[in-house]
């Protein structure tokens, strides 16, 4: 396993196997991987993250249960497994790790694949699920683990992993196994808690599936937090207004869209949505005037604005 963890990819492995007799006497092979790490950050370890010794093929459910519990969801790997494991594949898909987090009422974020990103998330009290390939690129042994600590002094990463409650691994070794998993990493957060490292687009993407699903309370929490962090961005404020509308709070939504328009008068989207709120309130003349403003500004959503206009013109009675 040590050799496997040290080798980077198939080509390197093949080249190195030619030199295997030489290498057997050495501990390091080839140049160390580039590691993006914040060496000035103090050692961090979230010691209170739960631990579930992994049953066969259950590293996905175990890792997810550990982080879900951290956010206050009392769920076990056994409870998660039926929705997370594909029996014939003996594992879990990343996309389902994300989907199952949502099904548990928590918000998953894929985060960027650098160790310093993990450090920043740990500093914000966010344990990080990572996907590693513990073997070779051409014969993968995929594994989910939870990073609970990084120690720049010891140059180590601390994981809840498999059957090991506190697996301490040299960070160059971790980097290689993680790189073979394409540096995939996710945090799972309570609605309204945002990753330390995400940008506004990532947060909007994380909210989108909830918006589609009509989980307006969750989207409202996400968007509200995002407006605080990015007060000059339109999308989170539009999201707050949409969430109010989705909850049937027409008056509040009306005001929220007007706030967006006041701040971003050149963007047509809030005019369109406000027009629909006004239509719902049977204020047809105002609605029509509002959608005309959207149409006048135009842009890639012009076709939608025209639909809105025809809905309003037929007073909601056309199909």
């Amino acid at each position: 396993m040590l050799l496997r963890e040290l080798f980077g990819n198939r080509g390197q492995v093949q080249r190195r196997l030619l030199w295997l007799p030489l290498l057997l006497g050495l501990t390091a092979c080839g140049p160390p991987p580039q590691i993006y790490v914040d060496v000035d950050r103090p050692a961090l370890e979230l010691t209170k993250v739960a631990f579930y010794p992994q049953e066969k093929y259950q590293c996905g459910p175990a890792a997810l249960a550990e982080v879900l519990q951290w956010t206050g969801v009392q769920v076990t790997p056994e409870e998660l497994a039926p929705a997370l494991v594909i029996p014939e594949l003996k594992g879990s898909l990343q996309i389902e790790m994300l989907a199952q987090s949502r099904a548990q009422g928590r918000v998953p974020f894929e985060i960027s694949g650098e160790l310093r990103t993990i450090q920043a998330e740990l500093a914000a009290d966010h344990p990080v699920i990572v996907l590693q390939n513990l073997a070779f690129a051409w014969k993968p042994v995929w594994h989910y683990a939870v990073v609970i600590g990084v120690d720049p002094t010891a140059q180590s990463v601390i994981l809840r992993s498999g059957r090991e409650q506190r697996h301490v691994v040299d960070w160059t070794v971790f980097e290689r196994t993680w790189a073979r998993g394409d540096h995939w990493a996710m945090v799972v957060l309570k609605p309204g808690d945002l990753p330390a490292t995400a940008d506004v687009a990532a947060v909007m993407n994380a909210a989108a599936p909830f918006e589609q699903n009509g989980d307006a309370k969750i989207t409202a929490a996400i968007y509200r937090s995002a407006t605080k962090r990015w007060p000059d961005e339109l999308a989170p404020q539009l999201g707050v207004a949409n969430s109010l509308y989705a909850q049937g709070k027409l008056k509040s939504a009306d005001q929220a869209y007007r706030n967006v328009i006041a701040k971003f008068p050149d963007d047509p989207v809030a005019y369109n949505n406000l027009a629909l709120v006004l239509a719902d309130r049977k204020r047809w003349t105002e609605a029509e005037a509002m959608v005309e403003k959207a149409l006048k500004i135009g842009g890639p959503l012009q076709a939608e604005f025209l639909d809105t206009q025809s809905q309003i013109r037929c007073r909601g009675k056309c199909k």
Binding site: Q54, P82, S92, A137, E211, Q212
Partner: protein
Amino acid sequence: MKSFAIAMRRLTLAVTCVFGFMTVAVPVAQAGMISVERYVAPGTAGDQRVMVQKFMQRDDVRAQLISLGVDPQAAQARVATLSDAELARATHLIDQPAGGDAVAVVALVFVVLIITDILGYTDVFTFIRK
């Protein structure tokens, strides 16, 4: 061995993606409301859902799901929360030109991809031959 083998794929797509979609794909509340997702990426959405749904309703695809140990009905529930963006990833793969390497595939991977490769619709397993 600190871990057990996980047959998994780095491309994150699911087969699964599929059944749930038409039931979930309700816009914010009223037709015409521009969602944040639509606002952020006005190019996406639309025909993809129909395309993926048709693909997933085929008997051979359903049979593949069952052979992987996944109940097609359960798959529906599992993916009810995928976003347009995630769907787009699935659609992209389904839409690849033919030429899959069925044999290399079976052991490894992941559902939509496995299915599409076996059926010769995609060739996304090149990563294992890199």
